[in-house]
């Protein structure tokens, strides 16, 4: 059993088999840096719980090999990412920090789907991004995009 401690002090006990899904943790264990409790300073308890839920599910499902199980897992993944945007982004950052490739792929792909087919204005609104182009700069990029690269 490995114990992880979130940034806000919550602790989570997980099997080694699950812990090694988090590559960052795996490296720490291999390097012998893992003490009795492994601190995860960048990730809150709420998010760490979700990450662990994902990893547990995927470790369990890894044992089943039938197509039906694989389809079920896809469905589970689709539900897993049905969270509010803030949570989704926090999970991405956690997956990136903890180096969990499959979770990073899943969440990044979800964000990519939110972007596809949208105009720049819509994208800015969805992600609350400030447009720091001047009108002239933006015009020039748009022109180059449309005239040269479409």
């Amino acid at each position: 059993m490995i114990t992880l401690r979130s940034s806000d002090g919550e602790t989570f006990d997980i099997d080694e088999a699950v812990a090694v899904e988090l590559q960052t943790i795996k490296h720490m264990m291999e390097d012998g840096c893992a003490g009795s409790q492994i601190p995860v300073p960048n990730v809150t308890g709420k998010i760490l719980a979700k990450v662990i839920e994902y990893c547990k599910k995927h470790v369990e499902s890894g044992k089943a090999e039938e197509q039906a199980a694989s389809d079920d897992l896809k469905g589970w993944d689709a539900d897993f990412v049905k969270v509010d945007q803030a949570t989704l982004f926090d999970i991405i950052l956690a997956a990136n920090y903890l180096d969990i490739k499959a979770l990073l792929d899943l969440t990044c792909q979800t964000v990519a789907e939110m972007i596809k087919g949208k105009t720049p204005e819509e994208i800015r609104r969805i992600f609350c991004i400030k447009n720091d182009f001047t009108p002239e700069e933006e015009e020039e990029v748009r022109r180059e995009n449309q005239w040269a690269f479409e």
Binding site: A86, L93, P120, I123, R143, Q146, F149
Partner: protein
Amino acid sequence: MAYSFPEEVLEHVFSFIHTDKDRNAISVVCKSWYEVERWSRRRVFVGNCYAVSPGIVIRRFPELRSVALKGKPHFADFNLVPEGWGGNVFPWIATMTRAYPMLEELRLKRMVVTDESLELISRSFKNFKVLVLFSCEGFSTDGLAAIAANCRNLRELDLRESEVDDLSGHWLTHFPDSCTSLVSLNISCLGSEVSFSALERLVGRCPNLRTLRLNRAVPLERLPNLLHRAPQLVELGTGAYTAEPRPEVFSSLEGAFANCKELKSLSGFWDVVPDYLPSIYSICSGITSLNLSYATIQSPDLVKLVTQCPNLQRLWVLDYIEDSGLEALAAHCKDLQELRVFPSEPYGAEPNVALTEQGLVSVSEGCPKLHSVLYFCRQMTNAALVSIAKNRPNMTRFRLCILEPETPDYQTMEPLDVGFGAIVEHCKELRRLSLSGLLTDRMFDYIGTHAKKLEMLSVAFAGDSDLGLHHVLSGCESLRKLEIRDCPWGDKALLANAAKLETMRSLWMSSCSVSYGACKLLGQKMPRLNVEVIDERGPPDSRPESCLVEKLYIYRSVAGPRLDMPSFVRTMDEDSELRLS
């Protein structure tokens, strides 16, 4: 709340976003997204090679792996663009050898490609995988030998419809024995015989070969051996499909085809002998694409073949199919999406086949998924066009080529305005339209009013006055490419709609009524347009402003006037301005 992801996360998100439109949208969101996007873009499509320069492309996108370029305007296919006009790919290759050593794919259309370019490609890009030369020219089989010899990981070599200086078929032997990576090989445009044993060995050692389009010189007797070495083929172009009728050749062919259970697309069939057609019947039920545009067989044989293919989605065929054949097609091929009917004798004075407007009407009635049509014929009526329009409101591409210019409705002798008007009115998703027959300005009023999604329009020998051009330019909101020949359209409409030209990729006008004066004015008024006058009669300076230009090609560009114009092409511009690319 604003989230700023670390760059590597943003890059990871962008790695799932592929279309040009989406990549372009991301790049405009904010400065940091622009930066991450441009470093992570791997493929570009440049619809007009002169709309941008190689220097601009490599500065904006430092890590491309796949580049697609288009050169000459479409009317080059009808020999309207003089030899030496431009579209040479060499400057692009030279720039990319320095900037993109890891380039993997190059797709070129209507460009001039020299052997020097091909040799440079073969030596400079260690991981080069895909070369598509669509309607290109300027190279010989020596250049192909370099590609074969040096591109160790070549997956695709596609020379479709290119004009190659075919010195010998020997180039194919330059593929080393270690080459096993080919997925697609299209040499259908080549004239001379390639070494058959080299071809057989090549095909045999490439287990992932999916597409093989042979040239005419590969005799029918050689086909079974090739097929046995590549039973996994999905797309096959045969060579000449002719031989003395011999049962052992037939059964050998039949057996070889029966073994190719993945075949979906067939083409080739030069000189086809009808007796040999049944050799492919066993795989016809799986065929979705059939290109018989070189098959000079008559209607009964065509019908027998086509009715064996119930899953046909695309058919290209000569007008030997006649109305009766098209009726049979309509009855049997309910999944048909695309039909192209080519003329067997386009220059003959009299019709040589019984193909009329009725054939197209039948197909439009019987094939609910039909949305793409290219149809050559000699007669048409408004009534037929109206039927077609009402039958197929899902039409997206409609190109009708009535062979004789200015042909009216043969029953009423009226112009075909009403018929084509019905097409644009009912087919709300129409993206491409080619017109022919007798057409007045009224037709173009219909187009401007209804064709809101139209992106490409081709017009020849039509219209009465500038009003026609004005309707098109002012009404067609989605217009990207407009090509016009032999129409009485000129200065007034062009100058009144100058701003529109910056919203389009290009405008081609030849044998119309545009004057030099208007071109100069347009060039001065719209400095971001390249207004190129093509005039093979000599320098235009001495001529009066009112003199009409022969050919005009106008396109928007972020690179300024091009620097490689031949003497017969002049940019109408503020002469003294130097632009940096």
